[in-house]
Symmetry: C2
């Protein structure tokens, strides 16, 4: 079975119209498919409304107990369920999951090295319940995963959505009967050569070019872990990895996306 | 197939120990089972923290847009996912659902008569996707439902959890191959003869006695719709309906519960 793993995140989640357009593009994608979504700015918004200010160290969110509750409410609650309801309205038989549901993704609390990230769950290739995902797909149910995992002993943890997308793709690609493509959708046309020029997206990027662009700071911030995850998937059996606008899911002309190659 | 529909609500949800005890009792219950949970006081707590004060008319919550978002976050997010993670830690293969997931329960916006209840979804006997519930059960997946439904055109709605429990029980009982028992768990030993005496629970209550106790105000407030739902289930093919402490799920000696009869 050929499976498309689609991640939507960033500004696509924040803006109602962008989210709807993304979900429409996902619906139009033919064949077996899984959606993974991030949280956008919604968790920050709810945090602030509750008088809890996001704690960041070196640009990364620290998930203390209060923040964990907020990301669970936001990712597994309001965002996941609204996405599922929208997909259902498009006759796409979505079913929302966090990692605890059906023991879908088990994680372990990140070990403290220099920084204590708090309730953050790291995953490995044994973490993904591929049996459940394939079982749902084969029965015409489309899994919609948020980035909340569990540790198997009753605790929910916060896990990066790009990482979840990559690990799901890799785990499924390791199954004998699966061919997997991984698509990262965000608000840009792809990996940009010039940060300020939204049209300057690369048609292709290989690992060597990625390293150079990281070194000369053309690729920065959140794009680095995203592409790390993307190349990790490509190196581990995922047959195609792309990154671009949501409409690249339906496009046959190779525009609005960057394709990764080794 | 014999199916137990278990509703937990009220104070059982508010208190960590009571919730864990309830989930342990649910786990010990043998055979096919479905859990439905309410929201307890958590939504009020989060509302207040966000500076939104619950709007009530004649003792009933009004679900405006802000409140809807809060109940989605609370019921489908924090409560549902923590219950699922706890059940998974007991090796009970739970999977959390709201009504939109797999189109599990479709509702329609309540028509405005005297009071506009806001984003409240009413359901009928065609609302429940019994196919999905049976399919999950037969594949060793235990559905855990919160009281959020959807209208099929992209909107989530707030529905009473007791009503959901009754309608799921009735819908399954109507299937040729199902026998259904419905158990309401709360913080009391059953229907009390004297409100102040927690030991004064009835072993049995029939519809005639219910009507008398309603008339003389022995049964009041939230117990009235709960028992209305319970008798409605009993009149519509559910083979047994009980109400009592969570430990009545595992008890063979007929204590800590009231059994309903026609």
């Amino acid at each position: 079975m050929k499976i498309h793993i689609v991640k939507i995140g960033g500004h696509l989640i924040n803006d109602r119209k962008s989210l709807h357009d993304s979900l429409e593009a996902f619906c139009k994608l033919k064949g077996y498919k899984v959606l993974i979504h991030g949280g956008g700015r919604k968790a920050d918004f709810i945090s602030k409304k509750m008088g809890i200010f996001p704690k960041m160290i070196q640009g990364r969110r620290i998930t203390d107990k209060e923040t964990l509750d907020i990301v669970i409410m936001t990712y597994a609650g309001i965002i996941n369920k609204n996405i599922v309801a929208t997909l259902q309205s498009y006759h796409c038989n979505a079913l929302g999951l966090c990692g605890a549901d059906g023991n879908c993704i088990q994680s372990y609390l990140r070990k403290i090295k220099n920084i204590d990230y708090g309730y953050v769950g790291d995953i490995n290739l044994e973490s993904v319940n591929t049996y459940l995902i394939k079982f749902l797909l084969k029965n015409n149910i489309i899994p919609v995963l948020c980035s909340i995992t569990h540790n198997g002993i009753g605790n929910l943890l916060n896990t990066n959505a790009d990482t979840i997308a990559s690990y799901i793709a890799i785990s499924l690609a390791k199954e004998k009967d699966c061919e997997v493509e991984l698509h990262f959708c965000f608000e840009k046309k792809g990996v940009l050569r010039k940060m300020q020029d939204s049209e300057s997206y690369l048609k292709k990027i290989d690992f060597h070019l990625f390293k150079i662009m990281k070194k000369n700071h053309t690729i920065t911030n959140g794009m680095i872990p995203k592409l790390d995850n993307a190349f990790f998937a490509l190196k581990n059996g995922v047959s195609q990895v792309s990154i671009g606008l949501p409409n690249h899911l339906n496009d046959v002309n190779d525009v609005n996306k960057t394709i990764l190659c080794l």
